[in-house]
């Protein structure tokens, strides 16, 4: 196996394993995952509950340590980094959108969006900022605090925040899990637009076949293993694959 990383891959994982606990209580959440996420692509991760989706995402994003294998983000092998280096890497190269509680309640929408840049001590790219704000479609609500925004608006603010620092990859864990289908659709189209128009790389965990159909590619996990993948999915093909998996 060659160690050189394909430049077109934003994120790659090799032989990735993750074990929680020890001895009898050990849970093998990931059992050796080989996967790559192409730059500028929108990838969805699917699988039954407990199959290891969140764990995989956390490991890929450097939020959690791995038990074995290696992960590259761009040309950096993150499995070798210290906590400090990982924090700096997250700051510079990774964006996040979580299922809920994405925003700091004390800050306004705009302050939340600018937060990663401020933490990193970087200047916002004003052109990008305007474009993101434009895309996020929140023009008049930027001065509001999260509690004054709807769930869908909050998630869009979270996506905007992830975009603003031009990360190498954005990880989203069920970003529409708490939304109704209309708000979910808004967020998903926003995600897809940012891939198309800004060339953003996005990896999204989801349970929803419709959400997955917005992606360019879907990978399927079961019991900690990568078991299937689909390109240019539709809601129907995703659903069929899922049903087959669970059978």
């Amino acid at each position: 196996m060659t160690m050189t990383t394909d430049v077109r891959q934003a994120v790659t994982a090799r032989g990735l394993t993750k074990v929680y606990g020890q001895g009898d209580a050990a849970v093998h959440a990931l059992r050796g995952i080989e996967v790559g996420f192409a730059t500028g692509a929108f990838t969805a991760i699917m699988g039954p509950s407990g199959s290891g989706k969140s764990t995989l995402m956390h490991c890929l994003a450097g939020l959690d340590t791995v038990s074995g294998g290696e992960i590259h983000i761009g040309d950096v092998e993150i499995t070798k980094l210290t906590d400090k280096q990982l924090t700096l890497l997250r700051r510079e190269r990774i964006g996040f959108v979580f299922q809920a509680f994405n925003l700091l309640p004390t800050l306004t929408a705009e302050q939340n969006i600018r937060l990663p840049l401020e933490i990193a001590g970087r200047q916002a790219d004003q052109v990008l900022f305007d474009r993101v704000i434009d895309t996020v479609g929140l023009g008049d609500r930027l001065g509001h605090r999260p509690t004054q925004l709807s769930g869908g608006q909050q998630q869009r603010v979270a996506v905007a925040r992830a975009l603003i620092s031009k990360p190498q990859v954005i990880f989203a864990d069920e970003p529409t899990g708490n939304l109704d289908s209309r708000s979910g659709a808004e967020v998903l189209s926003f995600l897809r637009r940012s891939v198309r128009e800004l060339g953003q790389t996005i990896v999204m965990v989801t349970h929803d076949p419709v959400a997955a159909s917005y992606a360019d590619r879907v990978i399927f996990l079961r019991d900690g293993l990568l078991v299937n993948e689909l390109h240019q999915p539709t809601a129907q093909t995703v659903l069929d694959t899922l049903l087959k998996l669970e059978a």
Binding site: L63, K84, T87, R90, F98, L104, I119, G121
Partner: protein, 827 residues
């Protein structure tokens, strides 16, 4: 319900401990106070009993003069059943130190050491004096003055003549406060009478013959002496002495308890805040309980029960700490050679246990009542809402109005107090208005915390970047919580500032007065109040070319307008000026008089009036300020004084050196001139000030130390609030970490939040302390020189900020250590 509560408590042991600690410290201090004073009392009682066991009966005077006529001793000795009787002599007999001057600011006591069974003095080294040439010294004086057994010591007799003795032993003054203060020389009874000049005894101690009971003997002695004296059995004497001593320790108890109460009040605020936060954080839990059928009463009960458990645990711990504190304080006092009984067991009385437990439990439960009521207001529906956002204080018109009313009332009362005649009642008014004003601050706290946070946080937000800005926002996000947290600290800082302002002002004012009163390089006076300086000293000094001026002050008692009063005079000299409050001192020529303010007011004398002094009329030309007038009474010119009172010696000499003469040289000259007069002491103005400053510093230090407890408790409060907030914001912290905030940055963020809280508390405290310190000093004396010790006050502010940061260390570490993934998953 009971089980749920206990399970909840056990699940959060650390939080329970932190919360308890506040009460524990308060109870510990209160219990410690009782343990200490009880132990001292018990020790005294034990000592008195042991002493009194040596005597069967004591004869004392009925009045305050402590005089039993010497002739009574023979009468007592003649009573049937008396085995032995001794008269106890106690007076003054000034010890001369190795420098040839009387030792100490006060003359040492001269006491008799009776021979035989009736001796109650503990000789620790050598032997008791047996002849007229022998004497003993108390251990402490011997140590400080450098005398050892075998030395020859010189003591002044009642006629101020030097007498020499061989030092044959040292003794322990035991628990006698007076002797401990002045030091004492012991002689045989006859020598003691001769040296002190006492014609009578302080007490006659009697030992019963075998087979005679003290009660019977008491009756027969009393019968022999008649009703002029009080005759007690030894047992009764011990009891009375112990009771009188208990009165003394009661002051100590009261003083210490006051600080204990302040600490408890601060602890109550901490408890109140903690329970408020807990209730807010558990709103969903409560709502869920309500959903499944718990009544409001049950919810209320569970919170009260929780506080009860906290109260019991912390009070019991507090008692243990109190026991340790009491024992520790005894050990410290013993080590400092304070006149307290040593080697007695620490005493823990039922009263101490009861007071400690009741205070601790009542304060804890009472502080939790309001939060418990708030818990009952949680609607069941709240269980279904997703996120309980923190309370935003409704701009609370009611709150603002009430707060403003309190502030107004407080300000009004302060103004009234300040404009009152200085004195106790004005001070009480100002203190009460301070309390009212403080209530206003307490009520308005949540409203002013945001602007204050913005103000205090301005610099940190600029310097510390994102963590700084987030910290400042966080410190302001829950105004109620922040206000209560900081107010606890405010109390301590207010009192500290108040005390330091008062001491600084006193120091400055007194310093100015000293300068006025004492515009000279040296002051020469005698150690004893009623003795004088031979006039030869003044004339010797005047002969020295190095000295610029020697002003003598003399005083005498005479009839003024038919009533006895003090009459004084001074050598006219440009170096000595009096301050006239009315009229002019320049007019003070032959046949005229100056009258001190206080005396003039009492006697209703005005400028232009005539006063009759020792049969002669004097026209009053000036009223003199009480600070600078030579006497509280009438001051007349030297010539007039000398003709009226020709034999009066000098009371005080004020000496100024010529310019250009070094301090060392002038001091040498003055001391050499004073050397032949052992009772005459020379003090430089610097020494007088230094002694005064030292005394003030000591008071300041003790009070600061005692207030430290309240401050410590308020810091626990900050730590507690912060750790609860950190817990509440677990997911927020995780989010920030995911977005790239490093661990040190997260820690820094929390430290800055604590810093801001600490600074707010300190600033409010400093503002209150300075204002009310000013008001308080206005009520203490006329024309004071106000002084706020800026350095000290700034250091309070800095230390409070720093202490806040220290309080944040643990919560911040915990927050930074949490795993991001775990925290994100937590709800």
């Amino acid at each position: 319900m009971f089980k749920t509560t206990l399970a909840g408590l056990l699940a959060h042991k650390l939080r329970l401990l932190l919360t308890s600690l506040a009460i524990t410290l308060g109870v510990g201090f209160i219990a410690g106070t009782f343990v200490l004073t009880d132990t001292i009392n018990a020790g005294f009682a034990q000592k008195f009993t042991a002493d009194a066991a040596k005597i069967s009966v004591a004869v004392l005077s009925k009045g305050e003069d402590h005089k039993v006529a010497a002739a009574e001793l023979e009468k007592v000795r003649a009573v049937k059943g008396v085995a032995e009787a001794q008269g106890i002599v106690s007076g003054t007999a000034a010890l001369i130190g190795k420098n040839g001057k009387v030792a100490g600011d006060f003359p040492t006591a001269g006491i008799s050491i009776p021979e035989g069974a009736l001796n109650r003095t503990l000789i620790t080294k050598g032997a008791a004096p047996k002849s007229a040439a022998e004497a003993v010294l108390d251990e402490n004086t011997a140590k400080t003055r450098g005398f050892t057994v075998g030395d020859t010591i010189t003591v002044l007799d009642s006629a101020s003549a030097k007498q020499r003795f061989t030092l044959v032993g040292l003794f322990d003054v035991g628990v006698n406060q007076e002797l401990a203060y002045t030091g004492a020389v012991g002689f045989t009874t006859d020598t003691a009478r001769r040296m002190t000049g006492e014609k009578s005894f302080k007490e006659i101690d009697v030992l019963a013959a075998d087979g005679v009971s003290p009660t019977d003997l008491r009756a027969s002695v009393a019968a022999a002496l008649g009703s002029a004296y009080e005759v007690k059995t030894g047992e009764k004497l011990a009891h009375d002495l112990a009771a009188a001593n208990n009165m003394d320790t009661q002051f100590l108890t009261m003083g210490l308890l006051m600080f204990g109460m302040i600490a408890m009040f601060v602890a109550a605020l901490v408890i109140y805040n903690t329970f408020n936060i807990l209730v807010a954080q558990r709103a969903r839990e409560m709502a869920l309980l309500r959903c499944i059928g718990a009544t409001k009463k049950q919810i209320f009960g569970s919170i009260v029960l929780e506080s009860g458990v906290v109260g019991v645990i912390s009070s019991v711990l507090g008692l243990l700490i109190g026991l340790g504190l009491g024992a520790g304080a005894m050990a410290v006092l013993g080590a400092l050679d304070a006149p307290v009984p040593v080697g007695v067991g620490v005493s823990l009385t039922t009263r101490t246990i009861l007071v400690g437990l009741v205070t601790g439990i009542v304060v804890t439960v009472a502080a939790a009542l309001l939060p418990a009521r708030a818990a009952t207001r949680v609607a069941p529906i709240a269980a279904l809402r997703s996120q309980v956002e923190e309370s935003t204080v409704r701009t609370g018109v009611v709150r603002a109005v009430f707060g403003a009313l309190f502030l107004l009332a407080g300000t009004g009362a302060t103004v009234a107090g300040v404009s009152m005649e200085p004195g106790q009642s004005a001070l009480v008014v100002v203190m009460a208005s301070g309390a009212i004003f403080f209530l206003g601050v307490l009520v308005l706290g949540p409203l002013i915390i945001r602007p204050l946070g913005a103000f205090v946080g301005w610099v940190p937000a600029k310097i510390f970047g994102v963590p700084g800005r987030l910290a400042v926002t966080n410190s302001r996000r829950n105004p109620k919580r922040a206000a209560t947290t900081t107010v606890a600290l405010t109390i301590g800082v207010t009192l500290m500032t108040l005390i330091s302002v008062i001491t600084a002002t006193t120091r400055e004012t007194a310093g100015e007065r000293l300068d006025k009163q004492f515009p000279v390089d040296y002051m020469i006076a005698t150690q004893q109040r009623d003795s004088t300086i031979p006039r030869t000293l003044a004339s010797d000094l005047r002969a020295r070319p190095e000295l610029a001026s020697v002003v003598a002050i003399r005083e005498a008692e005479a009839k003024v307008n038919g009533r006895r009063a003090e009459v004084g005079t001074f050598t006219a000299d440009p170096a000595f000026t009096l301050t006239a409050t009315k009229g002019s001192v320049k007019d003070l020529g032959p046949g005229t008089a100056g009258v001190s303010d206080g005396f003039a007011k009492n006697e209703n004398v005005k400028v232009g009036d005539t006063v009759k002094v020792a049969g002669r009329d004097f026209r009053v030309v000036a009223l003199l300020s009480d600070d600078t007038a030579p006497v509280y009474g009438v001051t007349i010119p030297e010539r007039d004084f000398d003709s009226a009172f020709p034999k009066v010696a000098d009371k005080q000499l004020l000496v100024n050196a010529k310019d250009g003469v070094t301090a060392d040289r002038s001091r040498q000259i003055v001391e050499a001139a004073a050397q032949p007069y052992p009772t005459v002491l020379v003090a430089s103005s610097r020494e007088v000030r230094g002694a005064f400053d030292d005394a003030l510093d000591q008071i300041l230090m003790i009070i600061t130390g005692l207030l430290g407890l309240a401050i410590l408790i308020s810091l626990l409060g900050i730590a507690n609030t912060l750790s609860l907030s950190v817990h509440e914001r677990t997911r927020e912290s995780a989010l920030l970490r995911a977005l790239g905030l490093t661990r040190p940055q997260l820690r820094r963020m929390l430290s800055i939040e604590a810093l801001v809280l600490g600074l707010i508390g300190a600033l409010v405290g400093v503002a209150l302390g300075v204002s009310f310190g000013w008001a308080a000093t206005q009520t203490m004396m006329d024309d004071i020189t106000f002084r706020a010790p800026v350095g000290q006050i700034l250091s309070f502010v800095a230390l409070s900020g720093l202490a806040g940061v220290v309080a944040a260390v643990l919560p911040a570490r915990r927050a930074a250590r949490a795993s991001i993934v775990g925290s994100l998953a937590s709800s």
